[in-house]
Subunit: 314 residues, 2 copies
């Protein structure tokens, strides 16, 4: 091990915030030499990781995620936990305003010595962002954080990517006027292990409770027993109950089994993604013409697939 | 074109049932020489295909699919349509009792000169079965069938495979006692373009109507406007309304656009599947040890993915 690597390792394991931040920057880097160093570091850190509760938190913009995480995180650190907040937001580069990019959003938690907040990496593709966040999770766990909250905004498949790296997936939603619920994207509902109707405070409390009841009924009708609660990131009401449901969900899990499956599936998913990227790159010069012939009917999809594969260079 | 190929082509285009059956057997075959002949035949048939309504019909065993298809198909042939019934059931080989394998299930439709019923291919993998059914669809459309019903039973991802090859996906479900609906698998609801609560007859009619109303309410709450109807395959009640919703769904579609996307996506999906099969086969001798090292923590998922790829032989 090089001296620099010793510094990283010792710095992270001793919980030094500057070294934690540097180590995460290293795993986020796409430079080849950084990449090698990052993987060597992760091999050293992995035996020290794995002891945290990993909780994904999703909700569309406006669902009150920052306020919720700030309030929940502050309660958890007050109870003696060390809380790391990571994020998966593949849109963060383009939009400019990444989730968690602006630390003033969580002013109190940012200043909390028992909390560590890291904005979403801006590596571009969802695969790249998710990889960096998974690896950052190893870093913060090795540094002794025993709760990892992974925030995601409802963009593309980011919820699935987060659900695949956490123990429990919490969906924040909102009541709204009319007979619909806000912030439930197609396909996300079935990822949720716990659902909380947020902003259940003041004049909105009654609507939030009714929404939670209706959603619970709808889920039961569809054979789901996902718990639906109400809470308020603003007043703190219901946060303990939401956290209790998260803990209870994990108690009902074969956690070791779930994590092993996630690790193996993640390994294959990386291999698949790299192979398919090569296929797309190799076939790029011919793909347009091949697709055109399929649409013309002059080539069957099966023959076209053979041609795409013929262009493949490993 | 060989003489044999001329026979196939002429036989199918003239609507000869024996040649249609033979052509489907050819596209189902996994023998290399058959595969080449099948693709050549499909290139010839494709310009004559594409004019049918393609409707997927799903529902768990007991939802009454056969009775429904027999009753709907008979109505459609009586109205002048030519109806082909295909199936995707990757379990058909193992279970022995494939869906549609037993033609006595649809005795009346089987004997109908304007209908053509073909059991699910038993090629084994879902990918293989779906490929054969897609190609059989080209055959029956070229033979002049203007309605293609693709049945699937709720096994694994078979519903997704069928939804990806049809214009409209119809889900059959059942009312049952208590506050749940029978036969709605996780993830299938959002594939459905039309939902019908079947067996709405006799003493079950009231329960079916209530179930339809509740499901409709639950879907609205979750931002879905999928129509929910009741029907009875047994008495024929509601079948015209269900078919009208199917037709209406297609009128609201950019059908040409949807089919083009399906064709292109299907082409890439075949290429991906073949490439990933090679990866799995190439990496098989080392995969177990690599996975073990990931679980041990001696190898990171990213390094492990590189090792799997290093074993790849195109």
């Amino acid at each position: 091990m090089t001296a620099a690597m010793e510094d990283y390792l010792h710095g992270v394991l001793s919980g030094n915030r500057r070294w934690i931040a540097r180590a995460i920057t290293l795993v986020e880097s796409t430079r080849a030499d950084h990449r090698d160093a990052a993987q060597r570091l992760l091999v050293e850190l992995t035996p020290h990781a794995g002891a945290a509760r990993r909780v994904g938190i999703s909700g569309v913009p406006g669902a009150g995620k920052s306020t919720f995480i700030e309030a929940l995180g502050t309660r958890l650190t007050a109870a003696g936990h060390r809380v790391a907040v990571l994020a998966v937001d593949p849109s963060s580069r383009r939009s400019g305003g990444s989730i968690l990019g602006d630390k003033t959003r969580m002013a109190r938690l940012s200043a909390d010595p028992r909390a560590f907040i890291r904005p979403s990496p801006t590596a571009g593709t969802l695969g790249g962002v998710a990889k960096a966040t998974r690896e950052a999770m190893v870093v913060v766990e090795a540094a002794g954080y025993d709760v990892v909250l992974v925030e995601t905004v409802g963009v593309g498949q980011s919820e699935t990517a987060v659900a695949d790296m956490v123990d429990t997936f919490l969906l924040l939603t909102l009541a709204r006027t009319g007979d619909q619920l806000q912030g439930i994207k197609k396909g996300v509902l079935e990822l949720a292990d716990v659902i909380a109707v947020n902003k259940a405070d003041g004049e909105h409390e009654t609507a939030a409770r009714r929404a939670a009841r209706e959603l619970s009924g709808a889920l039961r009708l569809l054979h789901s027993d996902t718990p639906v609660l109400t809470c308020s990131g603003l007043t703190g009401a219901g946060l303990d109950e939401v956290w209790a449901k998260v803990v209870r969900h994990q108690e009902g899990l074969d956690l070791a089994g779930k994590r092993s499956r996630q690790q193996v599936e993640w390994t294959w998913s990386l291999a698949r993604d790299r192979l398919l990227t090569r296929l797309r790159d190799s076939a790029a010069p011919v793909a347009g013409e091949i697709e055109r012939q399929v649409l013309d009917g002059t080539l069957t999809p099966s023959l076209a697939a053979d041609r795409l594969l013929a262009a493949f260079r490993p």
